[in-house]
């Protein structure tokens, strides 16, 4: 899996590409722990190019969300494909995460949060 990250308007945007499974999850968790800080508690995970996610991938995203919350930040997901979204619905994690259709909408949501 390819992972790239960039800073956009005070948020870290992490783009994942490929399979997000138990083999790849530790590297992603490490990135979360490095990127989420008191000064940058906003994270967007772009799943547009993720074609597969397993339960360990879900667990890693929950860890990322909790890290952001520790610093009163926001953790959101964007670009989810339908089969991946189904897994979130089955586990009801779609009610737990902020999920935006696109990266732009996720960034807009964080801007609102930062202003508020």
């Amino acid at each position: 899996m390819e992972i790239s990250d960039e800073r956009i308007d005070g948020a870290t945007v992490l783009k994942l590409r490929g399979h997000f499974d138990a083999y790849q999850a530790p590297a992603v968790e490490q990135l979360f722990r490095r990127a989420v800080t008191a000064s940058v508690p906003y994270m967007i995970v772009d799943l547009t190019d993720v074609d597969f996610i397993d339960s360990t991938g879900l667990a890693t995203l929950v860890i990322g969300m909790k890290l952001c919350r520790q610093y009163d930040g926001e953790f959101s997901l964007c670009g989810m494909h339908a089969p991946v979204h189904t897994i979130f619905e089955l586990t009801r994690l779609d009610r737990v995460f902020m999920i935006a259709a696109t990266r732009e909408k996720a960034i807009a949501s964080i801007h609102e949060r930062q202003r508020g």
């Binding site: 499974d21 138990a22 083999y23 597969f52 397993d54 339960s55 667990a59 339908a82 089955l90 586990t91």
Partner: protein, 147 residues
């Protein structure tokens, strides 16, 4: 990988090392098999791949946990083109699976782990576990085309 054919069913057998690194090979095989079958939706293919992947991940993480010898995972895929179904049998010779240790996840909570077997049961039409001759054997069934 070897392929055998009889009149109504086709079987594909694989054996892979019990490491997370190679599980994508099995997913790719399942994806190719399902793509070859008419009328199978992308979501169905994804769900089958994920269910089998979750079983294999659990084998790597738990069945062979703490063992110095690297284990193997034996997989048999049976395609029934007449009945439009797929059965995947996954076996290992690691420690016995203990269902009592598996707790249902609290859905909609911020639970970190525990979704694997729950997803397998939700995504497949039949899930069966047996301990046979020193092996854990999971049999997963999926009806591929809804009438």
């Amino acid at each position: 990988m070897k392929e055998e054919q009889d009149t109504s069913q086709e079987r594909i057998c694989l054996e892979l090392p019990a490491t997370l690194q190679y599980l994508h090979v099995l997913s790719a095989c399942l994806a190719a098999v399902l793509m070859d079958m008419a009328g199978v939706e992308e979501s169905t293919s994804y769900n089958v791949q994920l269910a089998v992947h979750e079983i294999c991940t659990n084998i790597v993480l738990y069945a062979y946990a703490g063992q110095s010898k690297r284990g193997r995972i034996q997989v048999m895929i049976v395609i029934d083109r007449d009945k439009k179904g797929l059965t995947v049998t996954v076996c290992d010779d690691g420690v016995p699976f203990d269902e009592a240790c598996v707790k249902e996840p609290v859905l909609g909570s911020e639970q970190v782990h525990g979704y694997g077997l729950f997803l397998v049961r939700k995504l497949m039409d039949g899930v069966d576990y047996r301990r046979l001759a020193g092996k854990n054997c999971w049999r997963l069934k999926k009806y591929l085309v809804r009438s």
